[in-house]
């Protein structure tokens, strides 16, 4: 079948399309992935069914198996693919830990390319200015030296030893603290962040952003929270993350150009952008063309 997206790397990935917690059993939802209209439903057992939308099919059980797209349920979301996806999605082992709160903070539509949104997620330099009094505060603006590697085995980017002073790192915080961060980019349009838990110094909260590319310049951003917090209601934890994301949104939507330029000379990075440089290089090496401005050959 012809697809509108011509990038085989992106076509063959798993992409998130919706949160299972917000899908009433059997109800068909419409969405757009890579410029194509899709329908999906989750049955009472949590099994997802995804298909290219067509007017004659209004129920998941009416769609012939041959016309279904690949579908899995993972980390609280329905994932599908318009190509031939890998057998497994990237792992997040912490998701299995029973004492964690696992929530879809929200799914927001954002007028941005997926790679620009990933880059913003990786950036610590904006914390004091955009997330003032929450994830950062002046004069604690320095991004200290951190390590970045592209793991060949796992095919993902790993940024470690990141450290930042945060006045209110999470809903469970009771004051400012130096917070340790680890970032993973295990998928061109997904990133997983680990940050010190205010309630257990041996463990980390997990916050992931899974971007559903609607087209090259629009995403649906799905935000997974997988955190340690025994005190706050779900809605309080969600509200915290939505507040953060709402602060990022105008920044994301005003990026120019909207697509991420991969030519190393296109934009001038500073030392704090080390993870972004690795991310751009990794996308180039993979041959990603969708949502980016590829470097001239």
């Amino acid at each position: 079948m012809m697809t509108k997206c011509a990038d085989p790397v992106i076509l063959n990935l798993w992409h998130p399309v919706g949160a299972i917690a917000e899908a009433a059993p059997g109800a068909v939802q419409e969405t757009v992935l890579l410029e194509e209209r899709l329908s999906f439903a989750v049955d009472a057992d949590g099994e997802p069914v995804v298909w290219r939308s067509r007017p004659d099919v209004q129920r998941a059980d009416h769609i012939p198996p041959a016309d279904r797209l690949p579908a899995i349920s993972a980390y609280g979301y329905v994932w599908t693919s318009l190509g031939s996806p890998p057998a497994e999605l990237f792992p997040i082992p912490e998701y299995q830990e029973p004492d964690r709160r696992k929530l879809n903070a929200a799914t927001f539509g954002v007028n941005v390319s997926a790679p620009r949104a990933i880059e913003n997620f990786l950036d610590m330099g904006h914390f004091p200015y955009v997330h003032t009094d929450i994830l950062g505060v002046e004069p604690h603006t320095e991004v200290k030296e951190y390590d970045v590697e592209i793991s060949v085995d796992r095919d993902e980017i790993l940024a470690t030893r990141c450290r930042f002073f945060q006045p209110m790192a999470s809903t469970a915080s009771d004051g400012g603290a130096d917070v340790d961060y680890v970032y993973r980019v295990p998928h061109p349009y997904c990133s997983v962040l680990y940050k010190s838990s205010p309630v257990d110094e041996t463990r980390r909260d997990v916050i992931a952003v899974f971007l559903q590319p609607v087209d090259q310049e629009h995403v649906r951003a799905h935000m997974l929270l997988c955190v340690l917090d025994e005190d706050n209601e779900d809605k309080v934890i969600k509200r915290f993350q939505q507040t953060i994301f709402g602060q990022d949104k105008p920044i994301l939507e005003n990026q120019v150009p909207k697509r991420l330029p991969l030519d190393p000379r296109a934009e001038t990075p500073i030392r704090a952008d080390k993870s972004a440089i690795a991310y751009r290089r990794w996308l180039s090496q993979k041959g990603v063309t969708y949502g980016v401005i590829p470097a001239a050959a």
Binding site: A106, F108, R220, K235, V236, R239, Q242, E253
Partner: protein, 216 residues
Amino acid sequence: MITLYDYELSGNCYKLRLQMSFLGIDYKTVPVDFYPGREHKSEWFLKLNPLGQLPVIEDEGLILRDAQAILVYLASKYDPSGTWYPRDNPALLGEISQWLAFADGITSTASAARLHDALFYDFDIDAARAGAHRLFRILDEHLWFGEQQGRNWICSASHPTIADIACFPYIILSEEGGVPRQDYPAIRRWCDRVKRIKGFTVMSGVFPAGPGKIAA
């Protein structure tokens, strides 16, 4: 103490947070999971407001809904200067009411466009954006002529009124609905003036006035 039933990303809730910050009123917040939880349509919330809409406040047993109505109430009760809603000035009260209704028009256009783009509401996006531009054009002209006469605010007064608070949030958030303010320079200058009112506070998506400029 006043209780505000609140959703962080709601511009209508922000109107009240803004006003209470201007007036220096203490209040407590009950978060409502408007999205994705749709808690404003839950049974307990519909008992507070059968319309299923935010915001709602509770003050000394009084439950009040509708952002504009609450602005009127809070200003009448808690503004000792009497400037935000001057009860002894009928002409000004008429003007304020006119622009409070205009603010509702901004909600049904600019805010609708934002809900469509960010939260996937099934609205006619072209109509919402066109409607917002129509209202912005009218307000921009009104503010421009006001500036020529030395007036800084929406209504004919030397100080801001609740009409400015009511119109501000969904104008400053309009780009999130694909409604740029590039063509409305008088609106942009007015937004900057609102941001410089003592006690101004931000919400997600709204940034404080830039440094280096002295308030007019």
